[in-house]
Subunit: 211 residues, 4 copies
């Protein structure tokens, strides 16, 4: 008898989409050593998210679980990642957010450490700034926040809420850790993720070249 | 009843060639976040060009449209990219140009920003300069122009016309944006694109190493 | 008549697992020019290990041999690598070690030379430190030893024993040579290997960027 | 009627081996913009070599031709590359040389320009020096010559002869151009090529890191 509080066919579809994207991101080297987490909104109370600690290059549909927007597991014995709350707070706050991607690329990690003291990475004057939803020109700057890392997820989530109160964001870095990026759906979240990775890489290169 | 002002079988052939090349360039990471545009000459009044805003790693034949040499869409509801004019001005001016490739690699973007102040990137003494059509020796230098970026495409196209009046060019950079390269056909345009990417990368490496 | 001192079906299984992992690591460029060696524990007296000098991108099951924990070949005409002893000393000492991976990536080699004078690479404050078995937080530092290179394997093995007496280790570098990393099984050893590679790469980038 | 001065079945075998290796090297990005040439010894008077100017990522068996040891085409209308003489001089001089590989990687090109003034790249103390045939230890140094580039191939070949008179070589660089590496057969030549690429890359990284 079906008593699941979510639509299992919607879960199957989300899981397939998450598995495909995860394998692509793993192949790029952005999920080293079983790190990183990916999620999609299931409905207005649930999200599908990768199970903690799996090798992201070998992910299967069974490695995707359901959580509610408080980050608690739903109808599963799987343990969600400690970082699940950083995904679900976005779904809870923004009805238009459909996908959250958290990666650990070398460029993201290095940028986070280099700019942690300043508290943000400034991205300015790049054509690719138009990749972020709503932007129409390169003649602008955005400051991507760099948060201090902590193992206290509620504290980190509270800092993110404060940031979200203050500005429009497409993503943020955590120092020595990685990037959170999101969007309306997987395609838009991927576009934002790709744009952040590319622009951080350019900033690192230019900093080396201009020393 | 067939009333198309171009040969649809020629379009099908061009679309297949564009899709194949686009997927290769996407796999190299030169088209981040749905950026970049690729085109082939259809005939003496039309070009086939990628539709704006698609993920270049997942491009299909339906993502290629027809424009005239003023950059206007022909027999299609698709919206051409704002940058279409930078493709079609080359077809209109040079009957021998058959292919235009516009990419956004990390190396191209970083080189454009680093050398924007000087207005060009000098490439000198490399064997690979022989990859540019007409060159027979490495004992030469070429200055690849770096144009300021603008969202005003007619203004940008006018600056390109002025450059083309003054010198033989195989391509140019736009600051913070990317590279335009062209050739007789896809193979030659790819050879020029590959040579620019390689030589810009060498110049960036040497600049870091010689600091 | 079966007189092998090990279980041949267990060997077949280990060989398949080694071949799969080796090809993945070769594709990453971490085994240049026939270098590198990979092994799995067969039982409490034997290990399966790659034969010396093969191209790791073309490895087959026949390129995996059996050695005892003194590094001597068992029931085979194959010659083990000179470095076999550095694998088997770990199996002999730690019953819980099931897999040893030795690679020669560019990042590992450069890090080993850069930090040889100091005798270790310090990794501190990274979220990915949690990838090493037993770690629960990023708020820590580990010092990965860098040993001087020598062609005298018993001497090198003795130095490793001294290190292992003094501290908990997941791996070590040899100057100008490469990395040894290990774990409970292939998955854990790979996780440790990936984490070392990633963190060394970040350290090298940050050192360049902070000059 | 068979009047070919070489064994056509041996040519077919060599062409297949060259095509396979060429595609692998192209996939690594070491043959940008139709550059690079690869050859195998056919017999004591002939070599099989890639035709000039082809895209190395799309090479087929028809893109391999036969030349004699003076670099002249044999029983073919194909034009050999101008650099053919740099291949055949090695086959003519050393009966034990069976394969010559000429690539243009970014690392090779940058190293050649950086060290052209000094006339060589010194490689010292690396374990991977043992990849060069005959070496038994890392406790040594080799100086890889960097020749000035010229379009005058007989002059370049004469300089190479002078180098070969003076020392044991596994390869040399040409400034702004690329690397020649060779060996007994394809496997050994590839091992030498891979070792040069890896060691040059380490030297460039260390130079940047130690600035």
């Amino acid at each position: 008898m079906q008593t699941l509080p979510y639509d299992p066919s919607r879960l199957a579809q989300c899981a397939a989409e998450i598995v495909a994207a995860t394998r692509e991101l793993a192949a790029l080297g952005w999920t080293p050593a079983t790190s990183s987490n990916f999620s999609l909104r299931l409905d207005d109370r649930h999200a599908a998210i990768t199970v903690s600690g799996r090798d992201k290059g070998r992910l299967g549909a069974d490695d995707v679980m359901v959580v509610d927007f408080q980050g608690q597991p739903v109808a599963t014995a799987h343990r969600p990642s400690a970082e699940t709350l950083l995904h679900t707070q976005l779904y809870a706050r923004f009805p238009e957010v459909g996908c959250v991607l958290h990666t650990h690329s070398r460029v993201q990690t290095v940028a986070s450490r280099l700019f942690a003291g300043r508290g943000h990475v400034r991205l300015e004057g790049y054509e690719l700034l138009k990749a972020f939803a709503g932007n129409q020109t390169h003649e602008m700057a955005i400051d991507v926040p760099v948060l201090a890392n902590t193992q206290d997820m509620p504290a980190l989530a509270a800092q993110v809420e404060t940031l979200l109160d203050a500005q429009c964001l497409w993503g943020y870095l955590i120092d020595g850790h990685g990037l959170y990026a999101w969007g309306r759906d997987m395609a838009q979240a991927r576009r934002h993720l790709d744009a952040f990775e590319f622009l951080f890489a350019c900033e690192l290169d230019l900093r080396t070249l201009r020393q």
